[in-house]
Amino acid sequence: MRPLHIIACVKVVPKPEEIRVDSETWTIQRDGVRSEINPPDMNALEMALALKEQHGGRVTVVAMGPPTFVLYLRLALAMGADEAYLLSDRAFAGADTLATSYTLAQGIRKIGDYDLILCGEESSDGATAQVPPGIAEWLNTAQITYAEDLEVLPGSGMVKARRELTGGYEVIQAPLPCVASVKAGANEPRFMDMERKAWAEAEGPLTVWTATDIDVDPEMIGLPGSPTIVDGVAQAEASERKREFLAGTPEEQAQALVERLRAYL
C-alpha cells in the first residue's frame, strides 16, 4: 500500500453562548463572535494525526468557509497536519448540507489520492450530521458514522471501527477509501506545537481555492444548490437553570418531578 493519505474536514463554528438572533432582521448574528474549531472535528483531526503517527503518510485538512477560517486551519497545521485547503468563495455561501457535501467532495477530489476522510460526527452549530454521509455518497465510498477506535488494517486496505449506537455499539469493517465521522469525545485532541504554529503562520502550506478552482457546477453550490430554505429563526428560551423548588411530601415531590421530566422518560 502506498503511504496513507488522510483528509480531515473541519469547520469553524461560533461559540454557542455567543449566538444571538437579531430581533429585527431575524437573522443570526455571527459578526465578531468568538469561534472555535468544531469540537468533534478536533476529534477527527486528532484521530487522523494519531493514525499518521502509527502508519506514516500524511494528513490534509480541508474546510469550506470565509477567509477568516485560515486562522483556524493554521491551528490544524500547528497540531500536525501537513497541508491545508480552504474552499472559499462567495458563491459557496448559504449552502445547506447537500451543497456543502457536494462542494467538499469536489474539493477532496481535487486534492486527490485520498484513503480515509475523517469528519466530526456533527457540527455544533448546524448539528445535522449529514455532511459525512453526503461526502461519502458524492465520492461513492463506504461510510462509517459515529466511529471510535478506528484502526487501519495495513495490507488489507480496510478500516475497522467501533460505531456507537443507541444503547450499544457495533464493530464494522469497510474498504478504503472510506469516509468516517468521528464520535465527539472519541479522543483528546493534542495541543498545538508552538514551533509548528510559528511555521504555519510564516509559511504553512495553505491553499485557498475558489469555485472555479475545484470544478463545481455553479447550480449545485451555495444558495442555488440548496434545496432547503430557512423559513425563520428564533432565539430559544434562555438556558439558565430554572431553579424550581418542588414542594410537598416526598410522594408529591416525586410526582411533580416526573411530570416535568416526561420528555426524558
Partner: protein, 340 residues
C-alpha cells in the same frame, strides 16, 4: 438548482421509516407514525410505513395500530443487519417506485446514517434532528423545527421544490400513540434487488449494552457522600431510565464506586440530557463535570447546598425518602408510555 430525481407534481403520501433493531421497532418510529397521523388529519394524505429487514413483516401490524394506513415491507437476508449500502440501495428503489412527498426518519445513529446518504442519492433536502414538525397551511409543505448552536437558536426549515421532503426527528419529542388493535391497514411486500457485492461494509460484531462510559450516558443518576455507601436505589433508578450511575469524588474515595464513574474536574466531563444528582453538595470541581447537562435535578437535605444554584428542579429532602416514590412514579409514567 440541484434537481431531485422526481418532482413535486409526481409526489404523494407521507412515508415513515420503521427502524427496527434485532427484530424490534424503535420507539421513535412509532412516535413518528403518531405525529404523521396528526399531520395528515383533515387532509387526504396516505400514511405509509416502510420496514426493511429480514423476516420483519410481523412488525407491520404494530405500525398500523399506531396509525399507518399501509406498510411496505422489504424483506431480504442481506437486510438482516443495518448497513448503509444495503439499506440505501433498497430504500432508494422503494422511493423511486413510490415517490413519497414526505419521508420521516428517527434521528437515531442509524437513522441519521441512512438519511444523510439517501438525501444525497435522491438529490433532495433533509432537515435533520427536528424537534417539531408541521405542515404549512396553504402549501402543505413540511416545516421542520431544528435547534442549532447548542440549542440556543431555533430555525424553521422547509424544502419547497425537491422531493421527497426529508426530515429526521429527535427521539422522544413526540409521544408514542396508544395502539389501536382494531385498526386495519395494508401490508405490501416489495421486491428487493440486492447482491452481496452491493454491500461494501461488514458488520463484525453487534452488541447491545456497553461498558461503563458516563460520558456517553443520556441519563445520569449521580450520588455523593449523602448516599452513605448505599447505591441500591440509585442503581435502580438509573437502570429504570436506561441511564448510568455517576458519583462525586467522595464515593470513589470511600470505595463505594469505581473511578470510571467519577464526574468532575479530575473525573469525567459528562453531557447527559438528564442528570439526577442526589446527596452531592455541588462543589465547583464536581459541577464542571455536570454543567453541560440539559436538565439537572438535585435532591439534597441542605436547602443551602450550592448544587441547588445549578439545578432546574430542586428537592430539599432526604434522598432515601424521595427515591422510592420517585422510582414508583417513573414506573407509572413509563407504563403509560409503552416503554422505549
Amino acid at each position: 438548482m440541484t434537481k431531485s430525481l422526481y418532482g413535486a407534481q409526481e409526489a404523494s403520501a407521507i412515508w415513515v421509516y420503521l427502524e427496527q433493531n434485532q427484530g424490534r421497532l424503535t420507539g421513535v418510529s412509532l412516535e413518528l407514525v403518531g405525529k404523521a397521523r396528526e399531520l395528515t388529519d383533515g387532509r387526504s394524505i396516505p400514511l405509509v410505513g416502510v420496514l426493511l429487514g429480514d423476516q420483519v413483516s410481523g412488525l407491520a401490524q404494530e405500525a398500523i395500530a399506531a396509525g399507518a394506513d399501509e406498510v411496505r415491507v422489504a424483506d431480504h437476508p442481506l437486510l438482516r443487519q443495518y448497513t448503509t449500502d444495503g439499506y440505501t440501495k433498497a430504500f432508494t428503489e422503494l422511493i423511486l417506485a413510490g415517490k413519497p412527498d414526505i419521508l420521516l426518519l428517527g434521528a437515531t445513529p442509524n437513522g441519521r446514517d441512512l438519511a444523510g446518504r439517501l438525501a444525497v442519492r435522491l438529490r433532495t433536502g433533509l432537515t435533520a434532528d427536528c424537534t417539531d414538525l408541521r405542515l404549512e397551511e396553504d402549501t402543505g409543505l413540511l416545516v421542520g423545527e431544528v435547534t442549532g448552536f447548542g440549542g440556543g437558536i431555533l430555525a424553521y426549515i422547509k424544502c419547497p421544490d425537491n422531493r421527497p421532503q426529508m426530515a429526521t426527528v429527535r427521539p422522544g419529542v413526540f409521544a408514542v400513540p396508544a395502539p389501536d388493535g382494531a385498526r386495519q391497514g395494508k401490508v405490501v411486500s416489495v421486491p428487493v434487488n440486492l447482491a452481496k457485492e452491493d454491500i461494501k461494509v461488514q458488520v463484525l460484531e453487534h452488541v447491545d449494552g456497553q461498558g461503563v462510559d458516563i460520558t456517553r450516558a443520556q441519563v445520569l443518576v449521580a450520588a455523593g457522600r449523602g448516599c452513605q455507601g448505599d447505591l441500591a436505589l440509585i442503581n435502580e433508578l438509573a437502570s429504570l431510565l436506561d441511564g448510568e450511575v455517576g458519583v462525586s469524588r467522595v464515593p470513589v474515595d470511600e470505595g463505594w464506586a469505581s473511578r470510571d464513574r467519577m464526574i468532575g474536574q479530575t473525573g469525567y466531563v459528562t453531557r447527559p440530557k438528564l442528570a439526577i444528582v442526589c446527596g452531592i453538595s455541588g462543589a465547583f470541581q464536581f459541577s464542571v463535570g455536570i454543567e453541560k447537562a440539559e436538565t439537572i435535578v438535585a435532591i439534597n437535605t441542605d436547602a443551602e447546598a450550592p448544587i441547588f444554584e445549578q439545578a432546574d428542579y430542586c428537592i430539599v429532602d432526604d434522598m432515601f425518602d424521595v427515591l422510592p416514590p420517585l422510582i414508583e412514579a417513573v414506573k407509572r409514567a413509563r407504563g403509560g408510555n409503552g416503554g422505549r
